[in-house]
């Protein structure tokens, strides 16, 4: 568009172009699904290059039960769609440097550990931008159809990420999504007991 040929303002011309962008986005497209393997992520991490490689578990013929994604900012994002293959999730987390103990429990149950274990909190160190992560460690985010957890790699040294959940969003009145970080060597295995 030649702006000198119109009587409209910059704001109007920009709106026209942006409306076109939105209209083009709203047209249906074929979606491609891409899968990556854990080994590739490990090699990528070791090389210190990029990033955002999803490790997808579960059966190949249905949407993956979970994904583990290493992000550029030194974080690992876990998305859980279905409670399947807890051991696979543990393996994929270990492959990117996160020791994990994953327990999918029936509603009304919780983990009892003997010994109970020492909780590790965020060390609250500023990042390169001076920002301090103050939120409680590893809080689940509830999304449509899945739950998401962001783990800072700098916070999981010498510790194990514990995932103890009974439901996925929508949680319902009795559903729970729990996670924590226990110091290695201070806790026993999860034994399901009444909550």
């Amino acid at each position: 568009m030649n702006p000198t040929e119109t009587n409209t303002s910059f704001e109007d011309r920009l709106l026209t172009e942006l409306r076109t962008v939105v209209a083009e986005r709203s047209r249906p497209r074929r979606r491609k699904r891409r899968a990556f393997v854990a080994v590739a992520a490990c090699l990528t991490l070791a090389a210190g290059t990029a990033i955002a490689l999803p490790l997808i578990g579960g059966e190949q013929t249905t949407p993956p039960a979970y994904s583990v994604t290493v992000e550029r900012a030194g974080t690992v994002t876990v998305k859980v769609v279905r409670f399947e293959d807890a051991e696979g999730l543990e393996r994929d987390l270990a492959a990117v440097g996160v020791a994990a103990d994953v327990n999918y429990l029936p509603v009304g149950k919780t983990c009892k550990r003997t010994p109970a274990g020492a909780l590790v909190m965020s060390d609250a160190k500023p990042d390169k931008n001076g920002l301090v992560k103050l939120e409680p460690f590893a809080a689940w985010e509830e999304h449509d159809g899945y739950a998401m957890l962001v783990v800072y790699l700098s916070e999981v040294k010498n510790a194990t990420l514990t995932i103890e959940s009974t439901a996925l969003p929508p949680l319902g009145p009795d559903g729970t999504l729990r996670s924590g970080l226990l110091k290695n060597g201070t806790f026993g295995p999860c034994v399901p007991v009444d909550a």
Binding site: E17, L18, P126
Partner: protein
């Protein structure tokens, strides 16, 4: 609130959102950039980024305006990091291409009106990035500390602590000016 997530899919919904926020976005950019052509480019980029990321918006993370300020801050930060060449190379809409001489004059007036804000920004150069980020949003853009916390993804208490520290640092170490005193007083309120 649910309408915002549709701005990337429905041109009419987007237009309502755009008309409500275009002036705020232009002012946000003009407080930080003194070139009208760059203001036009970055304004276009802010709305393109909003279109691309609206699906991820959650009301629990703040108001639509606060969320848009977060998008705008990311775009301006990319400019500061000198990534703008890459940004322009991939830009689907060149804002400056849409400018007439009259538009440039009008944007220059807007930029002139924000001179005090940019002077304050220069004074903030001595602040740590975290404190500066909160003070920018509260003192320059006029949003509440709670909204600033949501934009930055930190707790409201942390935002207030940063505001307090920023105000103390500015009063202790930065030469006073009228606009600076006014704005730091506002930030303390």
């Amino acid at each position: 609130m649910g309408e915002l997530r549709r701005i990337g899919h429905d041109p009419d919904v987007f237009e309502v959102f755009y008309r409500e926020h275009i002036e705020k976005v232009q002012r946000f950019v003009a407080r930080r950039v003194d070139d009208p052509h760059l203001v036009a480019d970055l304004t276009a980029e802010v709305f393109l980024a909003a279109i691309d990321s609206a699906d991820n918006y959650r009301p629990s993370r703040g108001t639509p305006t606060g969320w848009l300020y977060g998008v705008a801050q990311n775009v301006v930060s990319a400019e500061r990091r000198r990534q703008v060449r890459e940004l322009r190379a991939n830009q689907r809409i060149s804002g400056r291409r849409l400018l007439t001489p009259d538009d440039v004059s009008r944007l220059e007036e807007r930029i002139d009106a924000e001179t005090g804000a940019r002077e304050l920004l220069q004074a903030m150069d001595e602040l740590p990035d975290g404190e500066r980020a909160v003070l920018e949003l509260v003192a320059l853009d006029g949003i509440s500390p709670q909204e600033a916390a949501q934009v930055l993804g930190i707790r409201a208490g942390a935002a207030r602590v940063r505001l307090h520290r920023a105000r103390m640092r500015l009063r202790d170490g930065v030469p006073a000016s009228t606009s600076l005193v006014d704005l730091t007083t506002e930030a303390n309120s």
